[in-house]
Amino acid sequence: MNTKIFRARHAMGRTVRGPTLVAKDGFSARYDLDRIKGIFCRPSHKLAGQSYVGKILVLDTAKGGVATAWMLHEMKSRGIVPLALVFNSVNPILAQGAALGDVSMLAGFDEDITAAVPNGAEVEVNPEMGVLTVVD
């Protein structure tokens, strides 16, 4: 089994394991998601039409407004939520939302994480160690 490990400077939450959904694009729960259907719905988003439910989202950066701070909590309550968030950089809103919604998160890598991690790969997110491990 091949493994590849990436270290994050910022981490929060519990260890989770699942498939990735990767794009070099931004993220805002209000701007980009149909939170009822559990898909990216903003037509110009690179993941438009794809389901984020149960996926480890690997994206570039946080975009837009403050609503994500509540929306992750609301999405978690219905089980229509990403399994974890892995970003090159995040803004305070994503961190605040992940804290309230109890969604695991990593951010701040030495390389572009959206280029380093394949789409659909099985990965483990371990916030306590601050690492993302690709298990393929």
């Binding site: 950066t61 403050v66 609503a67 701070a69 509540w70 961190a95």
Partner: protein, 412 residues
Amino acid sequence: MKLDDEEKDILAGKAGFVPQQALQHQIKVGEFFGAENMVPVTQAHLMADTESLGEAGVRWLEGLAATVDGQRRVRIPTITDPRGTDFANADLLGQTSAMLDLEKRAISAFEKLGVAMTNTCINYQTIQAPTRNEHVAFGDTGVVIYSNSICGARSNFEGGPSALAAGLTGRTPRYGFHLPEMRRATMRVHVEFTPTSLNGWGALGGVIGRIAGNYWAVPVIEGIEGAPKSDQLKHFGASMASFGSIALFHLAGLTPEAGKLTDVAAHGLPSLRVTRADVDELQRSYHTDDQVDVVVFSAPQLSLFELGDLAGLCDGRRFAVPLLAVTSPQVKPDADRMGYTARIEAAGGKVLSGMCFYQSYAREISEARGWKRLATNSAKLVNILGGYGYRPMLASMESCVDAAVSGKLART
């Protein structure tokens, strides 16, 4: 994080469950960003529309509000961003009784927590603008970027849970734009075109927001001619924050921290130019149809001056499609007294207050009213509404009013 004695007591639960859990939340966020300690804040501004909260968020608030009185109230002035409706005009928006019931429950919970229901995203124009170096905990990105950049105050984007936590503890984690070194420019932007219209300022902000691209970027902007007005900078900042998640910019020679370029910019920063063609191209990219289903002025809420300008454009007109103008509960009574509301509504428009269009179940409004092709002079609004199933179009206030009369948006 280093905690002082009062914070240790709060964390130990000596002030009760509500401030205890608030501080726990703040420590989680603060440690994520490497904050060394907390910083006292003087005001909190709280975004909590019920579309964002959902049933889960409202129940969470009700849980806090059910705590015994004396252990649940905010410690500093804590005010609210727009609600998810204007109760007096909910039928016009096609909102359901379930949406309104959820709003009422949220309002009741906030009032028990001691939150003042100001319901505005232009508190820096209507309630109390922060002063230079004043540490605050503001939500709504447009409020934060204006307060940081134009007022010289110090705030991060504080989402609803964190702004409420700041209200309950009177402090916030000291990271990001509370730190002087994080407020220095990371890039120079030379603007070759100074807009005059609000949509032009919004489009310029959108262009710079896209270029800057992430929360930690701080553009210092050169080349602005004259002294921009508050409403122009309101649209400029709100759009920059929306397109780029930007929380702070400087205008060389104009804003408080950038009396001179060198006050905020080191040598060798990356430097970019923005031309009139860039601004025009952003606006053209949103002109995707000639027919209009609805005209909306919102995001940010309109000032008294904007409503006065709009009233002047409405005189003697008769609208063929709905026109909505959204303002704050503080401005609305003045607009009524000045006769602006009556003049807008005589033409067939409607002045709403205490809400903002995109925070009011925009997708459900579209489905209930059949509104898809939406014209506005707000660059922030066009950036947001694409994800809600709209075909949003950006134009001047004058062109939008013309579109409300004819049902067609003229190409410029």
